[in-house]
């Protein structure tokens, strides 16, 4: 699914969250969106997810403008996108396993395959011992991994990861990054990841969109260290 931003502005009152943002991301690309806090990184992800609507300009997913899509199309599009939210967005009274089961149910995953799929993604993010715990019983890093497991469960076309390593120790950060890299390579899944972590960005050698005060100041491919 190709993602296109065409001169997109998003304003909250008189404040621009992003201003005149244009870029194209092809299916299978791995893109980092970087910038300081408040630069507009999360706003871009929310616009892709149609959680926010642009004040002006166009956001196209798979050649269709999001604002032109009806509710069903938006739901169907969201079902193809795995999201790792910065604030995790896990349902508080469901266990890790139940949170993953919920998204599989939403995308109408074959019921007989749900358990094996849950087992697989929980193993991938190394949360086996925490699968029956509730979000309130997990540490920050574990919450992030649970959120990632949920995003991976549906075998999405696109993964939006909003600071997925923000609360992780270096070892777990690298585990997650390597996992995303493998998924991107093996399944041709588009990965769009916001991060502050320059070390990760520099070592991956992937495309970087750098934002400052809502505007793109650089869109380049980082040479691998």
């Amino acid at each position: 699914m190709k993602i296109v931003f065409d001169q997109v502005d998003k304003k909250f009152g008189i404040v621009y969250a992003i201003k005149n943002v244009s870029f194209e991301i092809d299916q299978g690309e791995f893109v980092f969106i970087t910038g300081n806090s408040g630069a507009g990184k999360s706003t871009i992800l929310k616009l892709i997810l149609n959680q926010l609507k642009p004040s002006s300009g166009k956001v196209l997913l798979g050649d269709v403008e999001l604002s032109q899509k009806n509710k069903n199309d938006v739901n169907n599009t969201r079902q193809k996108i795995g999201v790792v939210f910065q604030d995790y967005q896990l349902i508080s009274d469901k266990t890790v396993e139940e949170n993953i089961a919920l998204i599989l149910d939403i995308v109408s995953y074959p019921p007989e395959k749900i358990q094996s799929r849950i087992d697989k993604v929980i193993k991938e993010v190394n949360l086996g011992s925490r699968r029956f715990l509730f979000p309130s019983q997990l540490a920050g890093g574990e919450l992030q991994r649970a959120s990632l497991a949920r995003a991976l469960a549906i075998e999405p076309e696109v993964i939006l990861a909003d600071e997925p390593t923000g609360n992780l120790d270096p070892e777990n950060s690298w585990n997650i990054i390597n996992l995303l890299k493998d998924i991107n390579k093996e399944n041709n899944t588009t990965v769009i990841m916001t991060t502050h972590n320059n070390e990760i960005v520099e070592s991956m050698g992937k495309r970087v969109i750098k934002l400052d005060e809502g505007e793109i100041i650089k869109d380049y491919k980082h040479s691998k260290k």
């Binding site: 069903n72 169907n76 193809k80 999201v83 089961a101």
Partner: protein
């Protein structure tokens, strides 16, 4: 199946709200069942009196066959007479014994001689009743007592109508209260689960997917309330059957007719599920804006 699990999860996570919703529906259906049972009993009482002769003339003791024959002939001359039947003292004793067969003490001491003979008259034209009543009430030498059934039926009908109206009003009030309670409780549950709804939407859940567990919840309360409301009313009818039927003797006020109760249960289950669905649908419509 998964949506049913989610519904059950919602019920378990706020048990007191769920209990209040279920109990208010249960109370409604308890009163509806009681009303239906009482209504059926009242109809039986009415039917009993309606099928009874409309005027009964009790004769003085000692009248000979000629006098009795003359009375019968005279009665048959009135226009609009459907049937005139003579109940002799012996026949009266038979009827009395049949009506009191469960209580031998009442039948042991009674003989045919102490019971009056009578004429039972049914008419096709109610106006004749008044004429017969007027004419025979003055003949105190041959008539001991006249029972004019129309008065009884009119009074009973009046009483039955009042009872039905009051019952109907009570049911409307209780059902409205339980309906509003259910809408409010479903609304509270939606408010409590706002985050879950928001997250599900971000994950691509459709409008119906999000609403379905709440709609199912309403239906479950309706089913639970209607079934248990019926069961409690049935148990009450079972317990009170003997004293109430003894009071209304010879009419069987509470008749444990299986067909009647099965039809009542089926109707209540349907109405309960429908009521629950509509209440939750209104709650969902009001509180989940898309």
């Amino acid at each position: 199946m998964s949506q049913l699990k989610t519904t059950w999860h919602h019920i378990r996570r706020s048990p007191f709200q769920s209990l209040i919703a279920a109990i208010t529906i249960l109370l409604s259906f308890f009163f509806i069942s009681i009303f239906a049972i009482v209504n059926s009993g009242l109809s039986t009482v009415l039917k009993y009196f309606e099928t009874k002769p409309e005027v009964t003339l009790f004769l003085k003791d000692g009248l000979d066959d000629t006098a009795i024959g003359n009375i019968q002939k005279d009665l048959q001359t009135y226009n609009g007479i459907k049937e005139v039947s003579y109940v002799s003292k012996n026949k009266a004793l038979e009827i009395y014994k049949e009506q009191n067969k469960s209580n031998p003490l009442l039948t042991e001491m009674v003989t045919a001689s102490i019971l009056p003979a009578s004429f039972e008259i049914t008419v096709s034209d109610p106006e004749v009743l008044e004429q017969i009543y007027q004419n025979y009430s003055t003949k105190t030498d041959i008539i001991d007592e006249i029972i004019y059934q129309k008065d009884v039926i009119d009074a009973l009908l009046n009483w039955t109508n009042v009872t039905r109206k009051i019952g109907f009003i009570i049911i409307i009030i209780i059902t409205s209260i339980s309906f509003i309670t259910m809408v409010t409780i479903i609304g509270m549950k939606i408010t409590n689960r706002k985050d879950e709804i928001k997250i599900s939407r971000l994950l691509g859940a459709s409008n119906f997917y999000v609403k379905k567990p709440f709609l199912l919840e309403g239906i479950i309360y309706g089913l639970f309330g209607s079934i248990f409301g019926f069961v409690f009313a049935f148990l009450l009818a079972l317990i009170s059957q003997k004293p109430i039927n003894d009071f209304f003797q010879p009419v069987i006020f509470i008749d444990l007719n299986v067909t009647f109760y099965l039809i009542l249960l089926a109707i209540e289950i349907f109405v309960g599920a429908f009521l629950g669905f509509i209440a939750s649908w209104i709650g969902v419509k009001r509180y989940i804006k898309y």
